[in-house]
Amino acid sequence: MDRASSNLVELRDLKVAFDGVQVLHGIDLNVGRGEAVGLVGESGCGKSVTWLAALGLLPGKASVSGSVQLDGQELAGGPREAFERVRGGRIAMIFQDPSSSLNPVLRIGRQIVEALSLHRGLRGDAAKREALRLLDMVGIPDARRRFDLYPHEFSGGQCQRLMIAMALAGEPDLLIADEPTTALDATIQAQILDLLIQLRAETGMATVFISHDLGAVSQVCERVCVMYAGRIVEQGSVAQLFSEPRHPYTRGLFDAIPRIDGPRQRLIPIPGTVPNPKHLPEGCSFQPRCFRAVEACRSERPSLETSADGRQLACFRPVPANGPVETRTRMTEDMLQ
């Protein structure tokens, strides 16, 4: 009970299968009140599916099991109405492709007012005033004049601002931002990130930031979960993970990012590709691409263990703390040949 009151959302052993193919293999994840958690991993690793499943937004052919608790209240397996009560009002979500996430045939003002009347009972002029305030808050210039425009009359970045305004309409306790900047230009990306950071500071809502951009995650989040092939492989504070990534996959993600400071170095890609969820390798899913894999990794799967400093890690042979970069580089290059 104590634990339930401290966390806003708790996911326990959340599993998802599409047409019998398991894509999520038991996710345990807590989100505290007001906390910002990042979910990182390559495309198809299950970051988005985790939260779509938690909100019951997956299509009917997906089978979801496990527990999703909001304030200690179980949602998973409940009726559609239980999810409908939570969506938008308690947990709001914004998506990767803002332009196609807004209804193309409805005026944007109406789309925002719809959320306001649904969650806050606002109607008519009051709803419009509040919608204009939200549009102003998310930085849509000249909102009054553009209230009756359609989504295609806005740029991608502005559409994401509109999505955020709509998400804020329900005054949610948690905003799930599913790769909110992936489809946007770099300069617009930075603006949207700043907006998310600023809004969280102003409203105190918790944020789950789903991204494959580690830099963006470090700006927005306090805690990071790294996912690979439907599992969390490493979890810790931003400081922990960024100074000392221990899982070889996490390490690989960092090595694949170009650095503007420091000497010019070759980027080190992670060899191979994400495994097909239909045919996951034996043992650790990352083992075929891992530069530190040993025999044990090929037969057994490491479980997610919590260490004394709070970091969670699923690896038999983690990268040594402050381990020498050179060793790893050479080994990776051997593998690439």
């Binding site: 409908e84 807004l102 193309p104 649904l118």
Partner: protein
Amino acid sequence: MIRFIAVRLLRAMITIFAVVTFAFVVLRMSGDPAQVMLGPDVPQEAVDAFRRSWGLDQPLWIQYVAYIKSIFTGDFGVSMRDKASALDLVLQRLPATLQLTLPALLLKLVFGIPAGVYAALHRQSFADRGVILLAVLGFTIPSFVMGLLLVLIFAVILGVLPSGGQDTWMHGILPTVTMSIGGIGILARFSRSAMIEVMGQPYIRTASAKGLKWGDVVWNHALPNAAVPIVTIVGFMVGSLIAGAVVVESIFSWPGIGRLLIVSVSNRDLAVVQCILLIIAAAMVVSNLVVDLLYGWLDPRLRSNAAH
């Protein structure tokens, strides 16, 4: 917007002109009205006199120019058979045809669209499979087979409905149902695929993520988007209100435009056939124009494309 309509109107005129020309040429090349009207054993002088009196002895292009001129003055010619204005003959038959096609259109809309939408929202269910099966049956069985089948069941075996004629409203039931079944199937299929397409779009997920009730997501967010493809099909159905009953009117001896067309073609009653084809083409072209305008109203993205 005015430019948009002007372009469409011009295109519509060209289409009608092409239809009229085609009908004119084909009709004159496919048989001699004099032979058909007068019979095989009349003397050559009678045939020549008939030709002269209808202007058929003139070169084709002179006949054509005269015909086009008269159309522009509102004169659609005179029936060789009844010696009455072709337009009047056709318009006399119009109410009978609309008595069948309008209720049939209503049935198509009332049953086709909801069935398709329901199937889309309950995909892979028993109901979905049932709708697909019935829809395919509905639009693959030709209307002359369907009509005879219904006559067999309801007129011959059960004896509850008349098999032909236009005496009471009961006489209209079988032809109307026969005519609507194919359209119901087509609309059900189109509505289903349009809704399936729309329900997979990101904005539907957004609407759900917002907390909207399922029914509101479907009604307020999905249906307006699925309307464009559905309106296209309905437009065709509206366009064929006049011409759509040719086969069914013949099966059920219904004195509408369709039957007039068949009789006039076999008699080579040139003016009447041309008049009917012109009206059919005009109806189709006008409904297409209305559909184009509706697109802009239904989908603001198309509206701004048209303006530019």
